[in-house]
């Protein structure tokens, strides 16, 4: 999401007016029954979600800092932040193409060919092509240096063999951002390359994996003699990972930038349910819970400030280095703490299970369960602690 890296970006002339425009559009267009903090909530169907995201893009609220030549809005990361703040303010459904928009797009912009940028980016913004991410393998979860899925050069392209796992959306994706070995296993990260793998290619088998949350779309992917063209390679051979990791360290700090504001929306939801329900009202007067709510509030303000600081740094052309690890570690653990607090508080309302309490319970139970994944995906807590120890504190590893 490094706007300045892609040239010709312009800032909205009046950020306050721009914000009001985004706010008014979302408020008017987002159906009430898709808002998880409203009674009568129901999750949108996949097709409805695709259509919604298509409309958001058409209205100018996706690909904010990407060049107009590739379907972006040609604005800057500051507008990206404004749109995310407004998205976060509402209990809006998650994107159905977040890997495309938050991982594939930035990687293509950084290392993709001009043809690939023109080919893929507009389509993922228009929700015409959905992407999944094929990095993890059964024997290479956190340790991606052990990836064994192999891409062998053929006369006309590449032949892929191997297996990917924990691949979100693989059952519906049109493309997979595939990390595969193109050299010796001993070279670890130095022999990995990235590919745009068409999921319709012959030799691909997708099997669903049942998630703890029962959410659909989590899969394992088997790749047997899958033939793809030369044009599927993203970046240079054996250099894909090196380049991608640079993008990933930025993405860790910039993806789902709405997170802090959504967290605030969840906080508001919990407090408002407590205030409205006679059986829960005492919670807001109880010092024990007030202390915990204050701690959550501090957590939320920290998440928000990280996003604001990252945007300012990027907007000024500064590097953010490994600081995304602080953000990831903090928000994932803070969100888990808050979900636990919400369940504990809502359990006090068992005597009067009103629709408001039931709706809040449904939402926070889902957040709680999903929250257990948040310290695992995108680099586990332990990986982030390792990054902070190795690269920020620069602690020597040797004995």
């Amino acid at each position: 999401m490094q706007a300045q890296a892609h040239g010709s970006s312009v800032t909205a002339a009046d950020p306050a007016a721009y914000r009001l425009g985004v706010r008014a559009w979302l408020e008017a267009e987002l159906p009430q029954h898709w808002r998880a903090d409203q009674l009568g909530y129901r999750a949108p169907a996949t097709a409805e979600l695709y259509d919604w995201e298509r409309r958001m893009h058409a209205a100018g609220y996706a690909g904010m800092a990407w060049p107009t030549a590739y379907g972006g809005q040609g604005l800057t990361i500051r507008e990206h932040l404004i749109v995310n703040q407004e998205i976060g303010r509402l209990a809006m459904p998650l994107s159905a193409n977040s890997l495309g928009k938050e991982l594939v797009g930035p990687i293509l912009l950084e290392i993709g060919s001009e043809e690939q940028k023109l080919r893929f980016i507009p389509r993922l913004l228009r929700m015409e092509e959905i992407w999944c991410q094929g990095f993890s393998e059964p024997e290479a979860g956190s340790d991606l240096a052990r990836i064994r899925t192999r891409a062998e050069k053929t006369a006309s392209g590449w032949r892929i063999n191997g297996q990917k796992i924990w691949t979100s959306l693989a059952d519906r994706a049109d493309y997979c951002l595939l990390l595969a070995r193109t050299g010796s296993l001993e070279d670890r990260h130095g022999s990995l390359s990235l590919f745009a793998l068409p999921m319709g290619a012959r030799g691909i088998t997708v099997r669903p994996i049942r998630q703890m949350t029962e959410a659909e779309g989590f899969c394992e992917v088997f790749l047997d003699d899958v033939e793809i063209g030369d044009d599927a390679l993203i970046g240079s051979v054996n250099e894909g990972w090196r380049a991608a990791i640079e993008v990933l360290s930025v993405e860790r700090a910039t993806n789902r930038m709405y997170r802090g504001w959504r967290f605030e929306n969840e906080f508001r939801h919990l407090v408002r349910v407590c205030a409205a329900e006679p059986t829960l009202r005492h919670v807001l007067a109880d010092r024990h819970y007030r202390q915990q709510l204050a701690a959550s509030w501090a957590d939320i303000e920290i998440v928000k400030r990280y996003a604001v600081d990252v945007v300012e740094r990027l907007a000024q052309g500064q590097r953010i280095g490994q600081h995304g690890s602080f953000m990831k570690l903090h928000w994932s653990e803070a969100h888990q703490r808050f979900a636990v607090l919400a369940l504990e508080i809502l359990a006090l309302g068992w005597a009067s299970d009103t629709p408001e309490i039931a709706n809040a319970r449904r939402r926070f139970e889902e957040i709680y369960l999903q929250g257990r994944a948040e310290t695992i995906f995108a680099g586990t807590t332990e990986i982030q602690l390792g990054i902070i120890a190795d690269r920020i504190l620069q602690l020597p590893r040797g004995g």
Partner: protein, 346 residues
């Protein structure tokens, strides 16, 4: 208020602040005051002509340099009070900010104030304050029957005061409390203007949060150096993952707190107090644990005077003893709940 300084400006300032604090090593508090005052560091936040009128961010490198060197001086108290003094007590501001007299401050207490015969009469006891035996002036909160919370500037050198030494936590900055029995305070040293009180409170909490951070950072630096140098079981301690992860967590605690300090530094005047309360509540909750962890990392050595880690822990604990995380969080909770219940702006 001048603009937020650039990173380069702060770096330059940090170099001179470090030099000035280094020169104060071994000096008495009064001599240190003169040195710091002559360098302009005590008045850097106060408006001209009393001070330099710089942005509050310039206080950060000075606090960092002083905390790292465990300066035995009420620096945060002086910096936080400087604008208040300049507005409400210019002659005391001149004496304190030039370094000719030392001012300290209490953050809590149960002192009542009531008018009688043209003076404000104080009764009760202050909370603990640092450098209790070396200061000339004490800034202390008082409760006025009709006007509510206020501040009193008390002349400690005047006859009739006896400072009671309190606690042994902070060896670098010995603390005490002061008991008043019908003490007559000149009206000019009673401050009850809401805006001044609120601005002072915001500065005090923000700079105190910063001070807690710098003490914790110094303790963490000592731990990092220790585990990198010491070997046990035939390996450097730093190679043990359990220790690396604890150190990384401590670093994240400081990084998180930095976000809130930066937010408070950037806050508009009407949002400054809320932002400072939040930054302080976080620092008071997180920094004691960091210093405790740093001490633990030293093993048995951490419990001795052979390593200075305990001085930082003591300093942090003494500070949060005068205003703890729970009390600070009460205020945060009040604001957070009110904000959550207010309608979202259209």
């Amino acid at each position: 208020m001048n603009e937020h300084p650039s990173a380069a400006e702060l770096q330059d300032f940090a170099t001179s602040a470090a030099r000035a604090c280094e020169a104060c090593q071994g000096l008495s508090p009064k001599a240190a005051a003169q040195r710091l005052g002559a360098d302009g560091l005590l008045g850097l936040l106060a408006p001209e002509p009393h001070g330099l009128g710089l942005h509050r961010a310039f206080a950060r490198p000075v606090i960092a340099a002083a905390a790292a060197r465990r300066l035995g001086f009420p620096l945060v108290e002086t910096l936080a009070a400087s604008s208040l003094l300049a507005a409400a007590a210019p002659s005391i501001a001149e004496a304190v900010l030039s370094g000719h007299e030392v001012l300290t401050a209490a953050r809590a207490g149960s002192v009542s104030a009531a008018w009688a015969d043209g003076a404000m009469v104080l009764n009760g006891i202050t909370g603990e304050f640092p450098m209790a035996l070396d200061a000339h002036w004490l800034l202390t909160p008082v409760m006025h029957g009709t006007a509510g919370p206020a501040l009193a500037i008390v002349d400690l050198a005047a006859v009739g005061h006896e400072v009671e030494p309190r606690g042994e936590l902070d060896i670098d900055r010995p603390r005490g409390a002061l008991r008043f029995t019908d003490h007559r305070l000149p009206p000019s040293r009673f401050i009850d203007q809401g805006e001044l009180l609120s601005a002072h409170r915001a500065d005090d909490l923000l700079l105190s949060a910063n001070d807690l951070h710098e003490c914790a950072r110094s303790a963490l630096d000592l731990a990092l150096a220790h585990v990198s140098a010491r070997s046990q079981f035939g390996r450097k301690l730093v190679s043990f993952q359990a220790l690396r992860h604890d150190l990384a967590r401590a670093r994240m605690g400081l990084e998180n707190g930095e976000r809130l300090i930066e937010q408070a530094l950037a806050a508009s005047p009407d949002a400054a107090l809320a932002a400072a309360e939040l930054a302080y509540a976080h620092a008071a909750a997180v920094t004691p644990g960091i210093a405790e962890m740093a001490l633990q990392m030293h093993g048995g050595m951490g419990f001795t005077w052979d390593v200075p880690t305990h001085f930082y822990l003591r300093r942090i604990r003494a500070q949060v003893a005068s205003l703890g995380a729970a009390e600070a969080r009460d205020r945060v909770a009040e604001r957070a709940i009110a904000q959550a219940l207010a309608p979202l702006p259209a």
